[in-house]
Amino acid sequence: MRNKPIAPWGRFPTCEGVETFPETPRAAAFPAGRFLVRGLARSYGDACVQRRVLSSRKWKRLLAFDQKKGLLTCEAGLSLAEILEYAVPQGWFLPVTPGTKWVSLGGAIASDVHGKNHHAAGSFSRHVAEIELLLPSGEVLRTSPKRRPEVFAATCGGMGLTGVIRSATLKLEKIETAYLSQSVYRAENLAELMALIEARGGEPFTVAWLDVNASGKSMGRGHLITGHWASARELEKAGIPREKWLSVHRPPKFKLPWTLPNFVASLANAVGWKWASWVYHRLPRKYASPSLVHYDPFFYPLDFIDDWNRAYGENGFLQWQCVLPREKSAEGVRLILETCQKAGLHSFVTVLKLFGKGNGYPLSFPMEGYILCLDFNRTERLFPVLDRLDEIVVARGGRIYLAKDARMSARTFAKGYPGLPAFRKIKKALDPEGRLASLQAERLGLVTRRGP
């Protein structure tokens, strides 16, 4: 089998390797030696890169659905989009969803993803009732919050390193309609924005978009978007026809056929985005008056373009997402924004959100406090700046999100994740040879560099 480039969503880093697509999750399909399982490869960095990759893309069977309790058991390769296609017409939705529906169920568990409702509903794994793990030895192990809880905790957020997730049972949320009632608020600086976020914490879904280019008095200005599921009555009032009430998303409208050349991407970085964010901030909107929005644009604003990562050029891009403890958030976020501005870095999409309590799982990202998410074109000068941002975060007791990371140091990682020793112990017990590993796991010292 010929080698092909194995790339993550951010298109950096890549390596030459082989990805196989077995029909079923079974040990006989495991490559010899070291390998990694991945689904839709939406991790931004090397968390989904390895020389030998076993794809879960064909593991798409639904195994059971309890209509009364909303308990759905299915194979790990099913995407959240496919789960919605099945569940929404029957009046069920994902209890927690990240900003794209093109991630696999296994990936969502392995990264313990979060959504706009973290403050209310916790992270994805809170709604996982059971996981079926296929260990490198071929043994099948069922785990749940009650059954082998230490394995469950290590697997949720465990980046696929504790075993191959074959299938899982997910507790869905009952919905009356597929629409949300959305409100938008504008804040003129960071203090105002954070006060707004705290004040609107009662809404189930909240997220803020931040203008990173504003400085001085306006630093940290942005929009807060909140929402809750709309009732049938609200839709009736708004005159939305009944057959649309539980309508499913549509396939992406656009597809970027090629990767944009680097100079276009860097040009956009140099001038375009600075003004774009200024214009965006001044767009006339109906502030604070709720509007009805379908779940697709509400939760997945970027999904209408397929392969949007190509817009960042051949060099790819990096996302950097941190969480800061709540009491240190205001000062930390300000310092991070200042550092970016001094370095002349413009983030295209910048998100600020307040998390609720974390679950204490060893490698699960969420903890109580603010998250800040930035993304940048990959340039050489970016890396030292991100190292400085890492310092700001770990010095304040925060951490960096593994699913988005492509470059943090092993030291930053160890400082941010105090549960690391516990994770190592489980990893050793379930995969003593260290067969399951991503390049990220090698970089961060979770396994030895040279695999079995």
Binding site: M1, R2, T20, F21, P22, E23, T24, R26, A29, K58, K60, R61, L62, L63, A64, F65, E75, E85, Y86
Partner: protein, 259 residues
């Protein structure tokens, strides 16, 4: 996703033998979408029951899982009798590429290739044909059919895989004879010639993309050909052209080709 009502196939069953192959699964989805109920038979019954659960949930049909081993002939008649409600269509999708080089040294491995691709099919499809023939007399309006997946490899023996090729050649000849036998009864027999397909069977083989089909493309051809009561279907017609040439090459030249 549920089939559109009224469902003419609500009481009809198709048996898919070797249901865990990529092509078989794609066929199962297409038939289930049309409202057929399915008997899913595989060596690995656990996998078959997972597939059955999936199809039942997605399409609101009935699906049953069965343990079936193509090379275990003595069990075939019993399996077919147990398979109830009685199916009116059957797709034999089992087969194996095997390890040709190993089979040249190991007689057991060679025999397995022949059995899993040819003799196994002869055994089960003969039982099926007897049963269908008898039932067709009583229920003439039922759309009985037999379909089996053969291969381009069966068109001419090649140096690199002639064990698999000869087994498939046998299967193609068997199906052609069976078709003739069932012709008076009005039961169509379909021979499927897929060409290269991207499935587990060809994982690790470098396939030329222009002549390689996806499993669902093969499934579409199968479902359509069954409906049309076709005899032979070449999923990608280009293969027909390729083998038109290859079949007519004189043996004195063909034997020197190393593929």
């Amino acid at each position: 996703m549920k089939p559109t009502r009224p469902n003419a196939n609500a009481k009809r069953w198709i048996a898919i033998l070797g249901c865990e192959s990529g092509i078989a699964r794609a066929c199962a989805h297409r038939w289930a979408r049309e409202g057929w109920n399915l008997h899913l038979a595989s060596r690995n019954k656990e996998e078959a029951s997972r597939t059955a659960a999936d199809l039942a949930l997605r399409y609101g049909i009935q699906a049953k899982a069965w343990a079936f081993d193509a090379v275990d002939y003595p069990t075939h008649a019993g399996f077919w009798k147990k398979c109830a409600p009685a199916p009116t269509g059957v797709l034999a999708a089992f087969g194996t590429l095997g390890d040709h080089d190993r089979a040249l040294r190991d007689g057991g491995a060679a025999r397995f290739i022949l059995d899993a691709n040819f003799t196994g099919a002869v055994s089960i499809l003969t039982a099926v044909a007897d049963d269908f023939g008898a039932r067709k007399k009583k229920r003439a309006s039922e759309p009985f059919f037999i379909a089996a997946i053969s291969s381009v490899a069966g068109e001419r023996g090649r140096r690199s895989n002639y064990l698999y090729g000869s087994a498939k050649a046998g299967l193609t000849a068997f199906l052609s004879g069976l078709r003739s036998r069932l012709q008076p009864a009005g039961i169509p027999v379909l021979t499927v010639i897929p060409g290269f397909v991207r499935t587990d069977m060809t994982a690790g083989v470098a396939l030329p993309p222009l002549v390689t089909a996806e499993p669902d493309e093969v499934a579409r051809a199968i479902v359509r050909s069954v409906k049309k009561r076709a005899d032979v279907v070449w999923v990608r017609p280009v293969w027909r052209l390729i083998f038109l040439v290859l079949r007519h090459l004189p043996e004195s030249i063909f034997k020197r080709l190393s593929f």
